[in-house]
């Protein structure tokens, strides 16, 4: 009898844990397997099309020698394309397998299945239109294999230019954010600064940063600092504007509450005004970021010795549109990545807003 009573609660606990687990993982149903298959089937179709669809148009598939781990491979650009598509399919398949253990990630994965299927089909259509039959106007719209050729032909050069862009962006945008937040705080906090600086900011803020380029290029010591300067001012004004707005919208009561609890001036700025302004600061950073990308690429196109914008310009001169497309793809990936990182930082910093603000 005594053993029974001792065993019972433990058993119940075990059972409830299993129920909890069941609730979290849920049942892996047939539909999830189907969406897994749907996701990768688009890419498999793309590979199938590449292999079995007759090559009607005359296209030279160059071979490149890739050295890795001390070995040299001969790689045909068409095979490189197949590898890339296969890698995509494999990547999505593995992420689908990882998502199996959790109900929420399964749902998320299933929702994206149609889009990923369409992505594979789009690759297949692009392959037919750009390479197999060359229905699209050439050389403006080359097939996917030729875009990949750009990475094989110019790989070191592309990496070099990408890093140049990244360096320019990092230097300009980080300075812009620091200056913007700093000036914004001063404007928002001190009425005198507001009076003298805010109108200037309001007027200069609407001028696109690239309009200053002639001055930047002649007055600054080199083209790199000129481009940094342009990115700085496009981020600076926007962020300062919104930071100031955020600081000024702090309710008087928040300051009073903090003062009564023992806060001095520095505390009021650091622990009341700035946290309160954070949502506005991030709004500023978000929109400044988009403008910074534009300014970055434009200034690279108009007077930089490197960068993705420069690479696009240079490729255009040689009518190497496949290289232009290759650079655009890198931009899309790179800028999305930067946006994603900023979004993550924002979500973490503003986690106290979760559930208050409608997403």
């Amino acid at each position: 009898m005594s053993t029974q009573t001792a065993v019972l609660p433990a058993a119940r606990k075990k059972e409830s844990a299993a129920v909890k687990d069941e609730k979290k993982t849920g049942r892996i149903d047939k539909r999830y397997i189907l969406s897994l298959i749907l996701t990768i089937s688009g890419f498999i179709i793309a590979i199938g099309v590449n292999i079995f669809f007759p090559q009607k148009a005359e296209v030279v598939f160059k071979e490149y020698i890739i050295t890795a781990f001390g070995l040299a491979f001969h790689l045909n650009i068409n095979d490189a394309y197949i590898f890339v598509v296969a890698a995509l399919a494999l990547g999505f398949f593995i992420s689908g397998l990882i998502a199996i253990k959790d109900k929420d990630s399964r749902r998320k994965y299933s929702r994206k299945a149609y889009f990923r299927f369409a992505l594979g089909i789009a690759l297949a259509v692009w392959d037919i239109g750009g390479t197999k039959l060359q229905l699209f106007a050439q050389p403006f719209f080359p097939g996917p294999a030729q875009v990949i050729e750009a990475y094989l032909a110019d790989n070191e050069y592309i990496i070099q230019n990408t890093l140049y862009s990244l360096r320019l962006y990092a230097a300009g945008f980080s300075c812009g954010v620091l200056l913007g937040v700093g000036t914004g705080i001063l404007i928002g906090w001190f009425p005198k600064v507001y009076y003298w600086v805010f109108p200037v900011l309001k007027i200069t803020g609407v001028v696109p940063a690239v309009a200053w380029m002639p001055f930047a290029l002649t007055l600054l010591p080199n083209s790199f600092t000129a481009a940094v300067f342009l990115i700085v001012i496009c981020a600076w004004f926007q962020i300062a504007f919104l930071t100031a707005q955020g600081i000024q919208s702090v309710p008087k009561q928040s300051y009073e509450a903090a003062r009564i609890l023992g806060s001095g001036q520095a505390d009021l700025i650091l622990h009341v005004a700035i946290p309160h302004a954070m949502p506005d600061i991030f709004t500023g950073i978000g929109s400044a970021n988009a403008m910074a990308f534009t300014t970055l690429v434009m200034s690279e196109m108009l007077g930089q010795p490197g960068g993705l914008g420069y690479y696009i310009n240079q490729s255009k001169v040689w009518s190497a549109y496949y290289k232009v497309l290759a650079a655009i793809v890198i931009m899309a990936v790179l800028f999305s990545l930067i946006n994603h990182i900023i979004g993550r930082i924002q979500k973490h910093t503003l986690r106290w807003q979760e559930g208050v603000v409608k997403k």
């Binding site: 509450a257 009564i260 023992g262 954070m278 106290w352 559930g355």
Partner: protein, 259 residues
């Protein structure tokens, strides 16, 4: 742990948006004894919140003087705690960090950090330490505000209609909590309210104020034994007396027995 506050001949005049002078307070004299629970009651515009803000040091009088323990009040200080009507919690801080704010602001967080847990427990918010203000109810938020004010060990706690925005059940809960904290800490309590029942239930003395110009019209001693019964005859007759004073007794002939 408690202090006396003396107010002598205080005038406070505002200029409204039309440029007209409004006498928010005129000739206010009041002595508050250490450890006393005192309520300021009156219709809106009678200057009760203005008076509380003067005591807090958030505002300055044009004439007269306010002293705390014989020392002139010239600005805010941590010897007086303040609980706002609502929405004064910092939304970006968790409940725990909101309560700890005063310790950090005074630079004693390292030394006194164990107090945070004590005060969370004292106001019955265990388990909500990591929640953000928007995730808790209005009654809980006001308990946080009270704990946040009390953690600095103020000698007087000033409460500006802290229960004004709460429903009646939550309100009577919080009133009991407030009494409990008062009896534990012995802090001088000054409560601004427009709720007559609340004033009678909580206070040692009720200061009745009237508007235009804002002044003290009457001070009523509440001699009822504690814990007080809201339905007792003495309670109700005192309630009637105050209602009659405001000439509201005719409008509401029967006291409401809602609780």
């Amino acid at each position: 742990m408690s202090s006396s506050i003396s107010i002598q001949g205080v005038n406070r005049i505002y200029t409204d948006t039309d440029g007209k002078a409004v006498e928010a307070l005129k000739g206010i004299d009041l002595d508050i004894r250490p450890g006393e629970f005192i309520s300021l009651i009156g219709p809106s515009g009678c200057g009760k919140t203005t008076l509380l803000r003067l005591i807090a040091g958030l505002d300055k009088p044009q004439a007269g003087q306010l002293d705390i323990d014989g020392k002139k009040i010239s600005g805010v200080d941590t010897d007086r705690g303040y609980v706002f009507q609502q929405g004064s919690l910092f939304p970006w801080l968790t409940i725990e960090k909101n309560i700890a704010y005063g310790l950090r602001a005074r630079g004693v967080y390292k030394k006194d950090r164990q107090k945070v847990g004590e005060y969370i427990k004292m106001v019955g918010l265990d388990g909500f330490e990591g929640a953000y203000p928007h995730q808790i109810s209005g009654g809980m938020a006001q308990r946080v505000a009270i704990a946040r004010a009390l953690i600095n060990d103020p000698k007087a706690l000033l409460l500006d209609e802290p229960m004004g925005a709460l429903d009646s059940f939550t309100r009577s809960d919080l009133q009991d909590k407030l009494l409990e904290l008062w009896q534990q800490n012995g802090t001088t309590m000054i409560l601004v309210t427009h709720d007559i029942d609340e004033a009678i239930y909580l206070s040692d003395r009720i200061v009745i104020m009237t508007p235009r110009p804002g002044k003290i019209s009457r001070i009523i001693d509440v001699d009822l034994p504690r814990p007080r019964q809201r339905g007792s005859g003495d309670f109700l007759s005192l309630r009637r007396e105050i209602l009659e004073f405001f000439e509201l007794a005719q409008a509401i002939p029967q006291p409401e027995y809602t609780i």
